[in-house]
Symmetry: C2
Subunit: 246 residues, 2 copies
């Protein structure tokens, strides 16, 4: 009889090809976890994440579940897995949950943060987890632009390659732009995200912050439903999956 375990995972995505395990690609976070759980279980095991994160994207609170028949308390499974994981991936929580829990299908909301180091100074200690923009960003204008995106909208303009068959409508329940000294964070919570959506939104709001776009142009871009009007996608290194709600 297998038990279902829910875990919270943190990772420094710098040297990985993203969450999702791939054939012939060793370096994925899911791949690392799968092989450790498979070793523990003695049979092929697949960890189910709340969703993919792209190559180079980080997580403080990715959530996954895994079904195991091994007889061990959850804290011991956690210690076992952390013992074999590389230093840049860590299981922060592990607990037994109802069999119905599915990390992807049961997810209600996710929060991502895009971190910008907004200074021409060097960023010695956080250089791997923030994208640097030297010119000062107008955070008030960015907030105005961001507010156009809150709510239920068709986000096709902020998607890398929108599928014609799948809906590009998402519900963004909250989007904030916050300055903390030299750091500007774009924090977005929604019921789901299209491919590269947060990084394209961050790039578009950056254009607003630099004065290249008027804040209200964000609404026009949204309404165009056309990727070509949005700003450039910002690099993966500034993006972190903060948390997943159930």
């Amino acid at each position: 009889m297998k038990k279902n375990y829910r875990m919270v995972i943190a990772y420094d995505g710098t040297r990985y090809k993203g969450w999702q395990s791939q054939k012939n690609a060793e370096n994925t976070i899911q791949g690392k976890l799968n092989s450790i759980f498979t070793k523990l279980e003695g049979n092929e095991v697949e960890v189910q994440g709340s969703g993919r994160t792209d190559a180079g994207v980080h997580a403080a609170g990715q959530v996954a579940n895994v079904r195991l028949s091994v007889e061990m308390p959850a804290w011991e499974i956690k210690d076992y897995v952390n013992h074999y994981l590389p230093e840049d991936i860590g299981v922060m929580q592990m607990k037994e949950v109802s069999d119905r829990f599915h990390a992807r299908l049961s997810a209600v909301k996710k929060t991502y943060c895009y971190r910008i180091f907004n200074s021409s100074d060097p960023n010695v200690f956080e250089r791997k987890w923030m994208y640097a923009i030297a010119e000062p960003l107008d955070v008030e204008a960015m907030c105005q632009g961001a507010s156009c995106l809150q709510g239920v909208h068709d986000f096709a303009a902020f998607c890398r390659k929108p599928s014609k068959k799948k809906s590009t409508v998402r519900d963004i329940s909250s989007i904030e732009v916050v300055r903390k000294e030299k750091e500007v964070d774009i924090i977005i919570t929604g019921n789901g995200f299209l491919h590269n959506m947060v990084r394209i939104i961050a790039g578009t709001l950056t254009e607003v912050g630099l004065g290249k776009y008027e804040p209200l142009r964000v609404r026009q871009i949204l309404e165009s439903k056309d990727r070509k009007y949005a700003g450039e996608m910002l690099p993966a290194k500034g993006l972190i999956l903060q948390s997943v709600e159930y």
Copy 2:
């Protein structure tokens, strides 16, 4: 006519053999700076730091001075140097100062912080700048032990190889042990530090925090003036030079 410049330098010491340039050792922070300033100046230039930091030790506020004849405003020299420095070293401030300023001889106080990650959880994002101790530390006992070290004392017991010719008396004006969630910091300010002194003090206070030494044993160790009674030296990666006062 040379001008004297004072700079504040931050570095992630992980991949360096310490501050001090060495013959046949490429990877030192001073060595990197010397070679960039020498290129800028067209003549051999040596940067003078407030003091050495050992291999693997970090700095948020190392201070150094350099004498240059090049005609450039300080901010432009700063940008030039940062352009050529690797990402894990950065000049945070640069300004012209009186010719009498000498980063080592003029220094009045230095503050070091030893950072302990006090949890059995993984420390994914700060693993390179904190030393992990899984067993819970008794911070109150550590504070009691630390208070024995405040003031003017002979710190021979906390020095790797005390010289018989040079004084091992130092004035520790402040020593604090502070918990912030999973982090325990030992913050020490003094007029000077013996070789490995902060790391040996941190190791001794850790024994107190683990209940292996009584807090008052720190006073006995101090009075013994004998290295063999103090705790083990903790690893370099947890140590950071926070600031230098003039």
